[in-house]
């Protein structure tokens, strides 16, 4: 492999890497967007559910003064538990009532008592329940509500946050979900859902206060997206698909280049052959010119010498001797040329061939010419045509020459009238290929000399095509002829190539 091969391969590799990377990037981006979307939706639902519960607690508290009329018997100075409420609301662990002028039960820790007092004072001022004490790590929070009037009882309520979470409506599976959910308040936190923490990857979070004045807890949701959650499957599939597509494209381009190169080579080959022919003709001209020059000069010198008053006979004789020698030399040149030009017997290299395929190949090669000249081609070949015996290159050359002749013959025809018809068919022990054009046909005086070397009706033509084709056909045991002029349509020339069957019956 050469350097340019490597460079080209590297360019393709880079192109693939780029396509694969762009596709993968887009897939990752889409997946992250979807995950974030789901997270935000879940977070909103969680916030709404928890807020609903908090509002419920506020409502319960607001109802407490109405449920229990203040004037109720003994021990009114001691706060009383209200047992029915925790049964209806499992998150309400304890309810305390304090009648006006009395104190909170003595078994309450002193700190809680003063916290309740302080909250009550705030509540009296604000008119709604207030948070008295929160112990979020243990999931507990005390709320306090001052009585609506001086003679009304105050209430306190202990929330068990564990029971606050509405698991039946929860948008996630608490055991498996990677989302971390907690309530936060002044540096304390109550873990609602453990989720999963990752050191790498992407991170989403959500912060919003509960929609309740009495429970100013911050709802915090966090979500870590790890490498393993990226769409590896689709990414790999995309990389594979783009690699396959680029490979296919590369193969296609290569094939096209190869095809173009092959065509180019064929054309070059033809040009080279023509050049060789031209060289041969030029060489032949020179080789013959020299003896002819000497011959002419010698004989004319002799003529002049003999015309003189006193002819110098010796010199004249010498001149004539030279003329004879030069005539012999010219003849030897011709003999040598004939031996050079003579074709070896092609029948030895002949092989069984499908004539329609050969015709197809020749037409394929000339396709650009045909298209350029706007020539309609018709090929009639029976499907069961037997194989012929021919030398492939020679056969190709004959068909090429015949078609080329037809094309050039139709140069003067009207554009719509240019039709080339190739018909194949069996004739006894041979196969006939007929090539017919719609050109002006062959003039009667040209018919007899058509296959003579160097005879041409075209200006600039070498006059070798048909004579060469004929000798090639004969060397293969075939025959090339000009069909008699068609009486019916009059116009056009038709050539017949007869080739022996590969398997004689």
């Amino acid at each position: 492999m050469t350097l340019s091969h490597w460079r080209r391969a590297l360019a393709w590799l880079l192109a693939w890497a780029l396509v694969a990377a762009v596709g993968a990037g887009w897939l990752v981006h889409a997946r992250l967007l979807a995950l974030e979307d789901a997270f935000v939706t879940d977070a909103r639902i969680v916030h709404r559910l928890l807020s609903q519960r908090a509002v419920q607690h506020d409502a319960v508290m607001a109802m407490l003064p109405l449920l229990q009329p203040p004037a109720e018997g003994q021990g009114s100075s001691i706060a009383m538990p209200l047992p029915r409420l925790p049964a209806a609301y499992p998150q309400i662990a304890q309810v305390l009532r304090r009648l006006p002028g009395s104190a909170w039960p003595a078994d309450l820790p002193a700190a809680l008592g003063s916290a309740l007092d302080a909250a009550e004072a705030r509540s009296r001022h604000s008119g709604h329940a207030e948070l008295a004490q929160a112990d979020l790590p243990r999931g507990r929070a005390w709320l306090a509500l001052a009585g609506p009037a001086d003679q009304a009882a105050d209430h306190a309520l202990l929330l068990d946050l564990h029971a606050t979470i509405p698991w039946d409506e929860w948008p996630m599976d608490a055991q498996t979900s990677p989302v971390r959910v907690r309530l936060q308040y002044k540096g304390q936190a109550f873990g609602v859902q453990a989720g999963r923490r990752l050191a790498h990857g992407w991170h989403y979070d959500f912060h919003k206060l509960l929609a309740s004045q009495s429970q100013p807890f911050d709802v915090v949701l966090e979500r870590d997206v790890g490498w393993s959650e990226l769409p590896w499957g689709p990414m790999l599939a995309w990389a594979a698909a783009s690699a396959a597509a680029l490979a296919a494209l590369r193969t296609l381009l290569r094939q096209r280049v190869a095809a173009r190169r092959a065509e180019e080579l064929l054309r070059l080959g033809q040009v080279a052959r023509l050049n060789q022919l031209g060289e041969l003709a030029a060489g032949m001209a020179h080789e013959l010119n020299q003896p002819l020059t000497a011959l002419l000069a010698s004989t004319q010198a002799a003529q002049r010498l003999l015309d003189e008053e006193e002819p110098d006979l010796d010199t004249a004789r010498h001149a004539m001797g030279q003329a004879v020698a030069q005539a012999r030399r010219a003849s030897a040149v011709v003999g040598r040329l004939r031996r050079v030009v003579e074709r070896p017997d092609l029948s030895g290299q002949a092989q069984a061939l499908a004539l329609p395929a050969a015709v197809h190949d020749a037409l394929h090669l000339l396709e650009p010419e045909l298209r350029r000249r706007g020539i309609a081609v018709q090929v009639d070949a029976p499907a069961d045509l037997p194989a012929v015996r021919a030398e492939p290159v020679a056969l190709q050359q004959i068909i090429h020459n015949l078609v080329m002749n037809a094309l050039q013959a139709m140069e003067q025809s009207e554009a719509g009238q240019r039709r080339l018809r190739l018909a194949l068919g069996q004739q006894g022990s041979r196969v006939l290929l007929s090539v017919r054009d719609t050109g002006p046909g062959v003039a009667p005086e040209a018919r007899a000399r058509l296959f003579t070397p160097f005879y041409t009706t075209r200006p600039g033509g070498l006059g070798l095509g048909l004579s060469l084709s004929e000798s090639l056909a004969q060397a293969m045991g075939g025959e090339l002829s000009l069909a008699p002029p068609a009486a019916a349509d009059g116009a056009g020339a038709e050539f017949h190539l007869l080739l022996p069957l590969a398997h004689q019956p």
Binding site: Q290, T293, A294, L295, L296, A297, S298, A301, T315
Partner: protein
Amino acid sequence: MTSSLSPLIHLVDDDAAVRDSLALLIGTVGLRVQAWADPQDFLAQFERSDVGAIVLDVRMPGTSGLAVLDMLAAQGVDQPVIMLTGHGTVEMCRRAFKAGAAEFLEKPVDDELLIEALQAAVRQHVRSRERHQADRQARERYAQLSGREREVLGLIVEGLTNKEIGRALALSPRTVETHRANLFAKLEADSLAQLIRRYAALVEDTAP
């Protein structure tokens, strides 16, 4: 000078038979022929002072006829060159004439054509050699004149009379007459017309 001898034709062709037969043909009209097989030998050895012409084959191995023609032109060779070619193209013909060929003939060449071309070339060469000769002689004679004689000659050529020349050069008519007689003798002129025809151009060339 070799002009007393018959003109010499140099024939350059690599083909011995062509050389011999053309030499024979050219010899029948009394022209001398020197045949050369190798263009390099010809370039190295041929006598430039000969009067005559050169016949060059275009197609030769080694140095082509056109290349030889170019070299001859570069060396200032004044013999006319006749090109011979087996198959002449328009381009080849154009090149040959541009390089100073006198004639361009195709092989095989007809005797009449070749001989006429050769004779015309030889005539042209002889004339051009004679013209050169006369020019050189005139220049040599003119060189013998004294400064005063040249001044007098200049004024004669301008058409002044002796009296006018005397006035122009502040000389007596008699002295002018003496200079006039001297320069006529030195320049070997028989008449005033001859003097002016031969030397007017020289006077103008050397005028200050």
